[in-house]
Amino acid sequence: MKTKIKELRARDGLTQEDLAKRVNVRRETIVFLEKGKYNPSLKLAYDIAMVFNLSIEEVFVLHED
Protein backbone atom coordinates (compact mmCIF):
# COMPACT_ATOMS: atom_id res chain seq x y z
CA MET A 1 0.00 0.00 0.00
CA LYS A 2 1.26 3.47 -0.86
CA THR A 3 0.41 6.61 1.04
CA LYS A 4 0.53 10.33 0.41
CA ILE A 5 1.19 11.13 4.04
CA LYS A 6 4.64 12.62 3.42
CA GLU A 7 3.36 15.01 0.71
CA LEU A 8 0.33 15.96 2.79
CA ARG A 9 2.49 16.62 5.85
CA ALA A 10 4.71 18.90 3.77
CA ARG A 11 1.62 20.66 2.43
CA ASP A 12 0.29 21.33 5.94
CA GLY A 13 3.70 21.99 7.52
CA LEU A 14 3.42 19.08 9.93
CA THR A 15 6.36 17.10 11.25
CA GLN A 16 6.16 13.33 11.80
CA GLU A 17 6.02 14.02 15.52
CA ASP A 18 3.13 16.50 15.12
CA LEU A 19 1.13 13.99 13.12
CA ALA A 20 1.95 11.20 15.58
CA LYS A 21 0.63 13.36 18.42
CA ARG A 22 -2.54 14.22 16.51
CA VAL A 23 -3.40 10.57 15.86
CA ASN A 24 -1.93 9.24 19.15
CA VAL A 25 0.70 6.84 17.79
CA ARG A 26 4.50 6.63 18.08
CA ARG A 27 6.63 8.55 15.56
CA GLU A 28 8.05 5.22 14.31
CA THR A 29 4.57 4.21 13.19
CA ILE A 30 4.34 7.31 10.98
CA VAL A 31 7.80 6.49 9.54
CA PHE A 32 6.72 2.95 8.61
CA LEU A 33 3.43 4.19 7.19
CA GLU A 34 5.23 6.68 4.96
CA LYS A 35 7.59 3.95 3.76
CA GLY A 36 4.64 1.68 3.00
CA LYS A 37 5.93 -0.94 5.43
CA TYR A 38 2.84 -1.06 7.56
CA ASN A 39 -0.86 -1.27 6.78
CA PRO A 40 -2.75 0.78 9.39
CA SER A 41 -5.97 -0.24 11.07
CA LEU A 42 -9.14 1.27 9.67
CA LYS A 43 -9.36 3.58 12.71
CA LEU A 44 -5.80 4.89 12.27
CA ALA A 45 -6.31 5.37 8.52
CA TYR A 46 -9.51 7.29 9.28
CA ASP A 47 -7.82 9.45 11.94
CA ILE A 48 -4.95 10.32 9.59
CA ALA A 49 -7.35 11.17 6.76
CA MET A 50 -9.31 13.41 9.18
CA VAL A 51 -6.12 15.34 10.09
CA PHE A 52 -5.73 16.28 6.42
CA ASN A 53 -9.47 16.79 5.88
CA LEU A 54 -9.48 14.14 3.16
CA SER A 55 -11.08 10.77 2.65
CA ILE A 56 -9.16 7.57 3.34
CA GLU A 57 -8.76 6.70 -0.37
CA GLU A 58 -7.23 10.12 -1.02
CA VAL A 59 -4.47 9.41 1.53
CA PHE A 60 -3.95 5.66 1.07
CA VAL A 61 -3.59 4.10 -2.37
CA LEU A 62 -4.04 0.34 -2.53
CA HIS A 63 -3.70 -0.14 -6.29
CA GLU A 64 -2.28 2.38 -8.68
CA ASP A 65 -4.25 2.02 -11.95
Binding site: K21, N24, V25, R27, E28, T29, F32, K37, Y38, N39
Partner: protein, 137 residues
Protein backbone atom coordinates in the same frame (compact mmCIF):
# COMPACT_ATOMS: atom_id res chain seq x y z
CA UNK B 1 0.04 3.33 33.97
CA UNK B 2 2.35 3.34 30.95
CA UNK B 3 5.00 5.32 32.89
CA UNK B 4 4.76 2.80 35.72
CA UNK B 5 5.41 0.00 33.22
CA UNK B 6 8.57 1.74 31.97
CA UNK B 7 9.76 2.26 35.55
CA UNK B 8 9.10 -1.40 36.39
CA UNK B 9 11.14 -2.47 33.33
CA UNK B 10 14.07 -0.31 34.47
CA UNK B 11 13.85 -1.58 38.07
CA UNK B 12 13.76 -5.21 36.89
CA UNK B 13 16.73 -4.68 34.57
CA UNK B 14 18.70 -3.02 37.38
CA UNK B 15 17.79 -5.69 39.92
CA UNK B 16 18.71 -8.51 37.53
CA UNK B 17 22.08 -6.95 36.71
CA UNK B 18 22.79 -6.25 40.38
CA UNK B 19 21.79 -9.79 41.40
CA UNK B 20 23.91 -11.30 38.63
CA UNK B 21 27.02 -9.37 39.62
CA UNK B 22 26.46 -10.14 43.31
CA UNK B 23 26.20 -13.83 42.46
CA UNK B 24 29.44 -13.73 40.50
CA UNK B 25 31.18 -11.59 43.10
CA UNK B 26 30.20 -13.82 46.03
CA UNK B 27 30.91 -17.04 44.11
CA UNK B 28 33.83 -18.92 45.64
CA UNK B 29 34.50 -21.02 42.55
CA UNK B 30 36.47 -19.85 39.54
CA UNK B 31 34.23 -18.76 36.66
CA UNK B 32 34.09 -21.17 33.74
CA UNK B 33 32.89 -20.87 30.15
CA UNK B 34 29.36 -21.91 31.14
CA UNK B 35 29.09 -19.08 33.69
CA UNK B 36 30.37 -16.52 31.20
CA UNK B 37 27.89 -17.71 28.54
CA UNK B 38 25.10 -17.40 31.12
CA UNK B 39 26.31 -13.92 32.09
CA UNK B 40 26.38 -12.93 28.41
CA UNK B 41 22.83 -14.16 27.84
CA UNK B 42 21.49 -12.37 30.91
CA UNK B 43 23.26 -9.15 29.95
CA UNK B 44 21.81 -9.44 26.41
CA UNK B 45 18.30 -9.71 27.85
CA UNK B 46 19.02 -6.75 30.17
CA UNK B 47 20.37 -4.68 27.24
CA UNK B 48 17.22 -5.54 25.25
CA UNK B 49 15.01 -4.44 28.16
CA UNK B 50 16.95 -1.18 28.47
CA UNK B 51 16.58 -0.57 24.72
CA UNK B 52 12.79 -1.00 24.95
CA UNK B 53 12.57 1.08 28.15
CA UNK B 54 14.63 3.88 26.55
CA UNK B 55 12.32 3.95 23.49
CA UNK B 56 9.27 4.06 25.73
CA UNK B 57 10.77 6.84 27.86
CA UNK B 58 11.72 8.85 24.74
CA UNK B 59 8.16 8.63 23.39
CA UNK B 60 6.58 9.49 26.76
CA UNK B 61 8.88 12.51 27.10
CA UNK B 62 7.70 13.79 23.71
CA UNK B 63 4.07 13.37 24.75
CA UNK B 64 3.62 10.35 22.47
CA UNK B 65 2.20 6.97 23.52
CA UNK B 66 4.73 4.32 24.59
CA UNK B 67 2.67 1.61 22.86
CA UNK B 68 0.47 1.76 19.78
CA UNK B 69 -1.07 -0.61 17.23
CA UNK B 70 2.24 -1.18 15.38
CA UNK B 71 4.26 -1.93 18.52
CA UNK B 72 1.54 -4.31 19.71
CA UNK B 73 1.51 -6.00 16.28
CA UNK B 74 5.30 -6.40 16.40
CA UNK B 75 5.06 -8.00 19.86
CA UNK B 76 2.30 -10.35 18.65
CA UNK B 77 4.25 -11.41 15.57
CA UNK B 78 7.51 -11.87 17.49
CA UNK B 79 5.68 -13.87 20.17
CA UNK B 80 3.92 -16.05 17.62
CA UNK B 81 7.20 -16.65 15.76
CA UNK B 82 9.04 -17.56 18.97
CA UNK B 83 6.27 -20.02 19.86
CA UNK B 84 6.23 -21.59 16.38
CA UNK B 85 10.01 -21.98 16.08
CA UNK B 86 10.23 -23.32 19.61
CA UNK B 87 8.48 -26.54 18.45
CA UNK B 88 11.51 -27.34 16.30
CA UNK B 89 13.87 -26.21 19.03
CA UNK B 90 12.25 -28.36 21.72
CA UNK B 91 12.38 -31.33 19.33
CA UNK B 92 16.10 -30.71 18.74
CA UNK B 93 16.69 -30.34 22.48
CA UNK B 94 14.84 -33.62 23.08
CA UNK B 95 17.02 -35.52 20.61
CA UNK B 96 20.22 -33.90 21.86
CA UNK B 97 19.54 -34.53 25.55
CA UNK B 98 17.42 -37.73 25.57
CA UNK B 99 20.36 -39.90 26.60
CA UNK B 100 22.24 -37.20 28.45
CA UNK B 101 22.89 -37.55 32.16
CA UNK B 102 22.67 -33.82 32.73
CA UNK B 103 20.14 -32.46 35.18
CA UNK B 104 16.70 -31.82 33.62
CA UNK B 105 17.05 -28.11 34.43
CA UNK B 106 19.76 -27.76 31.74
CA UNK B 107 17.62 -28.62 28.65
CA UNK B 108 14.61 -26.79 30.10
CA UNK B 109 16.73 -23.71 30.78
CA UNK B 110 18.20 -23.91 27.28
CA UNK B 111 14.71 -24.12 25.77
CA UNK B 112 13.45 -21.11 27.74
CA UNK B 113 16.53 -19.03 26.91
CA UNK B 114 16.24 -20.15 23.26
CA UNK B 115 12.61 -19.02 23.07
CA UNK B 116 13.61 -15.68 24.58
CA UNK B 117 16.45 -15.33 22.08
CA UNK B 118 14.15 -16.07 19.11
CA UNK B 119 11.64 -13.52 20.42
CA UNK B 120 14.42 -10.95 20.78
CA UNK B 121 15.73 -11.52 17.24
CA UNK B 122 12.23 -11.39 15.71
CA UNK B 123 11.29 -8.29 17.74
CA UNK B 124 14.37 -6.44 16.53
CA UNK B 125 13.82 -7.64 12.95
CA UNK B 126 10.22 -6.40 12.82
CA UNK B 127 11.14 -3.19 14.69
CA UNK B 128 13.64 -2.27 11.98
CA UNK B 129 11.99 -3.71 8.87
CA UNK B 130 8.32 -3.10 9.72
CA UNK B 131 5.39 -5.46 9.41
CA UNK B 132 4.89 -6.51 5.83
CA UNK B 133 1.61 -6.03 4.04
CA UNK B 134 0.25 -9.32 5.26
CA UNK B 135 -3.38 -8.52 4.44
CA UNK B 136 -2.68 -7.82 0.77
CA UNK B 137 -2.94 -10.48 -1.91
Amino acid sequence: MKKIRTSVMLILAGTTTFGMFMWFYSSKQALGTQEFVLLGLVLTVVAFSLYIAYNRYKNEKQGLPADDELSNRIKQKAGAGAFMYSFYMWLLIYFLFRESELEIIVPIGLGIIGMGAVFLVLYLYYSFSGVEDENEN
